[in-house]
Symmetry: C2
Subunit: 332 residues, 2 copies
Amino acid sequence: MRDVARRAGVSLSTVSRVMRGVPGVSPAVRERVQNAADALSYVVSRNASGLVTGRTCRVAVVVPFLQPWFFGSVLAGISDGLREADLDMLLYQVGDLRGQRGWSRTLPLRRNSDAVITVSMDLSAQECDRLDDVDVPLVLTGQHVPGRAGVSIDDVEGAAKATRHLLNLGHTRVAYIGSRGGAWLSLSSRSRLAGYRAAMAEAGLPEWSVLCSPGDEGGELAMGELLSGHHPPTAVLAEFDAIAVSAHRTLRRSGIPVPGAISLMGFDNHETAAALDLTTVDQSPRAIGAAAAALTVEILHGAAPPDRYVEMPTQLILRQSTSAPRRTEGLS
Amino acid sequence: MRDVARRAGVSLSTVSRVMRGVPGVSPAVRERVQNAADALSYVVSRNASGLVTGRTCRVAVVVPFLQPWFFGSVLAGISDGLREADLDMLLYQVGDLRGQRGWSRTLPLRRNSDAVITVSMDLSAQECDRLDDVDVPLVLTGQHVPGRAGVSIDDVEGAAKATRHLLNLGHTRVAYIGSRGGAWLSLSSRSRLAGYRAAMAEAGLPEWSVLCSPGDEGGELAMGELLSGHHPPTAVLAEFDAIAVSAHRTLRRSGIPVPGAISLMGFDNHETAAALDLTTVDQSPRAIGAAAAALTVEILHGAAPPDRYVEMPTQLILRQSTSAPRRTEGLS
């Protein structure tokens, strides 16, 4: 690196910035450094810097699944934040490992990473303790465990806000479709249901929740159940967008206009919600990821206490699937 | 590890299998090994095994973006495959780095990974050569460069197949909406357009393609353009599902029945396509990822030549957005 700096006529730290892709170096200087590096065939070596600092320069990110859109967005935010701090991301997808006792020990985290970030893992206290054995900072996202570092939204308030939106439109028969099972979601499931219940209780209205099975048809069947009650609801809040999309299918097939006869809203701001013009609650997973990376870096640098919790805001996204209830009764 | 094996009364390789989470060990034996490991506080160390093999036991995966669903699915497949081979995944999202000259040198790949897998990076020959400097095997997914290892679908044939589906239904005015710009997609963009053109030429019918700008409104505007022609098409193939979803919005707002007046189909089998009952072409990104991981492991073990190319099949998914054209003219 010293040779590159000498050849380009710049400081060592400038070479380091250019090599790491950190912004703030003028294009002309960047060009000069890269020409010098080209000439000297210089490639930054992570191992070499690791030997100097005694760190691995890697952060392990543990996710239950990679396919759902939510995880890609959180990872994008984490990736941005870690790169800014010149840290590599080791990624572990552990969905089908979770059933095994002591699954976290099968991950090669120890002496392989400087910190561990979990994404919506809904860890038990015992699992957290086990991850403490890795002996590096642990940052949880998508769940709040008192006394532990983490980044999450307030699911209770998010669901209460959504419910109040429907109540403020004038609805009084507001039903809720939640998810049954799906272990890794159960913490936010409980919180969102609690938020709905609190808002209904505050309005002095009876709650009406049905739980649907996981999978693509869960929402369809749950909506069918609501439609076969004595007095079907005029508004339905789904625990997350995928349930709302599935429930929407039942309404479309039955020719029940949305929001004409039934207002429908979800939670998450999945891209499918935009495609269906569905009102929802945005939780900015990318921002959650970026905040988790920033918090991890601060903890590693001793700039934040190891138990700092960051709460991220949620935002109601009004689209065309919710409106005031009609005066007349009936579904079509 | 020897102590764990002795305490549990099993072979060293059994302990290794349990620790790495590899299947094929009975629950009873797994339990015994874990109890022994618990008692001895044994945690597998990646570094220790690296010292023995002289390898990093890491594969670097380079993606342009993490947010689009496609990448999460490919990564899920790669993750499964690498874990099976006891390799860690280092993940680099380089979307906004691509503009910089020599971006690949800013990644700490050298002496940090045993192989590099790229996902839909649409690399130039020069970029490939630069990655060769890392001096480890390179496996490309989502693009085929002759003489290089890779896993991809045949985009030309996939689009031709989709076009033939519409032609076989009896459509003669079949239009195509492609994407303009979006550098990282341009290779598959060109291939899909070529497939559409080939199928139309084979049928002796005139082609009719419009290119839409990137972003959520691209398909909407392109569909508007098609609808304002002298003889609007009776069927439209979109280059990928997101364009079809956007185009679908224009049709919905205009009250034009799908597939009654216009058949519409996409490409990719995005989950939104399922939500909208959209006919599409499935390319199984998870299977692409799994195949890429398997190929990487084979190349590392010398079991496959370093330039093996694997072509993955595509599958037409028939849903409710395509049907035979109506006998009468007119859009509603």
